[in-house]
Amino acid sequence: MPPAGGGRKAKSMDNRLEQIVKVLQEQASATFEESRGEVHIFIHPAQLVDALTFLRDQHEFSLLSALTATDYWPQEQPRFHVIYQLTSLTQNLSVQLRVPVGGEAPKVPTVSGVFASANWRERELMDMFGVEVEGHPDPRRILLPEDWQGHPLRRDYPLGYEEPQFTFNFEEIDLRKPYVKE
């Protein structure tokens, strides 16, 4: 149990998590990192489905509370970390699995067979980061319009969409602004 009063003292890793990390290190050649009381387990894409199944079935991590990614552009190898945040409601534990993937045609296997809620989040991942999810049952776009080009949450995606209109460039922008014809 954590100390009462919500103390923020640095505490060593939970025993149960330590065991999990040990097993994953041996069986899936995973590495881990501890940061601010959170455990991040780095794992190879090929081992991902097995690791998630193991955590779900053996250690009661029944909730996939987040599935997202981080872009470390301009770093290319690995450029993305695909992040799977798991929560165990019965044990009050949280663990993060990270899958590093390269910038050239990034790819991860689908985990929607393990956690059904991953379905939509993987679609969002494909939309926003352009990380391909192999074997996804329904790989349509989820958020962006059908004809969208590019992946907005990538670091190299342009930040602004339009130059702001001020007095000095008002007319120039006014001329090329796509006003509705009517």
Binding site: P145, P152, G160, E162, Y179, V180, E182
Partner: protein, 162 residues
């Protein structure tokens, strides 16, 4: 002095058709009940007792585009909302007007990014822009009254050309 004194004993009044029609249009302009973001809160406040837009004949917010004359675009329009907005506009019967309420609807506001339309005038023709983030209800009412002034100046022969 009421209108009956102006009428005298004749019981009739002479005016132009233009001004009579424009008077009718401005005094019962029903806005569409269509809020997109936080500006909609101010739009509701403008409708409520304190500011009371029914003073201007706008007490009815119609939840159907078929029954409304005025579209108040209250909030930022996302790229996926834009086709819906255009469709609602197309469903409104003529004559119809559009007020772009707030900075986001007028020019994108603080949302200069991929997800938000940079000005709703890319989607529907706008008559009056109301600045503010969000505009106070007074500002919206001022925008509405400005629109009334515009409508009162409409000429039939110009409408016929268009």
């Amino acid at each position: 002095m009421g209108v009956e004194q102006k009428l005298g004993n004749m019981g009739i009044v002479t005016t132009t058709l233009e001004s009579a029609v424009n008077w009718a249009r401005t005094n019962a302009m029903w806005p569409m009940m269509f809020g997109l973001a936080c500006c909609a809160i101010e739009m509701m406040a403008a409708q409520a007792a304190d500011f009371d837009m029914s003073r201007f004949g706008m007490e009815l917010m119609r939840p159907s585009p078929r029954q409304s004359d005025l579209m108040i675009v209250a909030g930022r329009v996302s790229r996926k909302m834009a086709p819906v907005l255009r469709r609602l506009y197309d469903q409104m019967p003529e004559p119809k007007w559009v007020i772009s309420m707030g900075d986001c609807a007028s020019c994108g506001g603080v949302f200069n990014n991929y997800a938000v339309v940079q000005g709703v005038d890319e989607v529907v023709p706008v008559d009056v822009y109301v600045a503010g983030c969000p505009p106070r209800p007074e500002a919206l009412i001022h925008g509405v009254v400005t629109l009334f002034e515009k409508v009162k100046g409409e000429k039939f022969n110009e409408l016929a050309k268009a």
